[in-house]
Symmetry: C2
Subunit: 210 residues, 2 copies
């Protein structure tokens, strides 16, 4: 299987880390987002949304969207279970993973893409250009600050984000927190000791360097 990715792109990192946790080897093919290679016509048939990652199966079938790629890898290699096993575990992991995506990851990208000259007219990923909105750069930072407080509270009641065991929600959250460097709100997380301890624990896993 081939994974179209870019080293610094956080959603691509999510797929790489997930596959490392599963000990699944993927052939990595770089799509250079720095030169906007994701917008080239020869990538459009890999992913009409012009984003990385994209997983190409050996028969040519394509799966895009990072959580869907992880879901596929979980299906072909169920152990260790990173989406949960019981209905309640599965639900709690889905709940935290979605909270991280909607309130953490989208907050960082809102702050980053609306406040950095590289993304002029590229305020959203995808094939269509949208102009930056300066107020969103500020809003993204406020939202991310609230997200860090949410994690601090949660990690005071639970060893891992979605419960007593490591899950995809920890992968998504740790990558989001690390990515927050791009809005200068990344590690260390001062004033958030439980979050900081959890972050160091997750980042020390060998998979995180994938």
């Amino acid at each position: 299987m081939k994974l179209y990715h870019f080293g610094r792109a956080p959603n691509a990192r999510r797929a790489r880390v997930f596959s490392a946790e599963k000990a699944i080897d993927l052939e990595l093919i770089e799509v250079d987002l720095g030169s906007r290679a994701q917008l080239n016509p020869d990538y459009a048939h890999k992913n009409v949304m012009a984003e990385v990652p994209a997983l190409e199966l050996d028969d040519g079938t394509l799966v895009t969207e990072s959580n869907a790629i992880c879901r596929y890898l979980e299906g072909i290699q169920p152990e260790p279970a990173l989406f949960g096993t019981t209905p309640l575990e599965q639900a709690q992991i889905a709940m935290w993973d979605r909270r991280v995506e909607l309130h953490g990851f989208l907050a960082v990208t809102e702050g980053f893409r609306n406040g950095n000259a590289f993304f002029k007219d590229r305020a959203l990923t995808g094939p269509i250009d949208y102009p930056q909105i300066p107020q969103l750069a500020e809003r993204g930072r406020k939202r991310f600050a609230a997200f860090l407080d949410l994690l601090e509270t949660r990690l005071g009641e639970s060893d891992y984000l979605a419960g007593p065991t490591f899950s995809i929600a920890d992968i998504t959250a740790a990558i989001t927190c690390d990515f927050a460097r791009v809005i200068k709100m990344g590690p260390p997380f001062e004033g958030h000791p439980k979050l900081q301890a959890w972050f160091e624990r997750i980042m020390s896993r060998p998979s995180m360097s994938a």
Copy 2:
């Protein structure tokens, strides 16, 4: 089990429709978003994110986030399978469901909450007030127009959104398309005949009136 919901709230509708497809009875408890009851302190312990829906299990455990509630219901009542069965089906359904959430549903809410006086200082759901950004009202409409084109193309190659069988992606997408009435881009979908035919087919399912 109890479902905290609101009749017109689209994410709550998603949980209701899903439970109807599964023939699972839920006790419905209304949280009146019209009077901002989701922000009352007595609801905060149901969902710290101050949103509906929230599912309360018989032992008091709470599951929030509509897709996580659906995931729980799929776990306790696997048939009919609405998240897919094989790894590839599961991945393709997750892929389309996420595309609908990120590019369709968020586009409608962006347009709605930034362009309607009721949401002054409430441009985002959740416990924190954020001011409206008028440019987002316009951007949401542009994004939703692109989303309708994406669906039209996809429904020219597939009977249902994620493949040959009905799935949660169809539920999420049909509710999103119907909800687009709030930005006056809802049905009918002129110039999108395949989308329109699919929409009528999905809306005719008994579950859609749940």
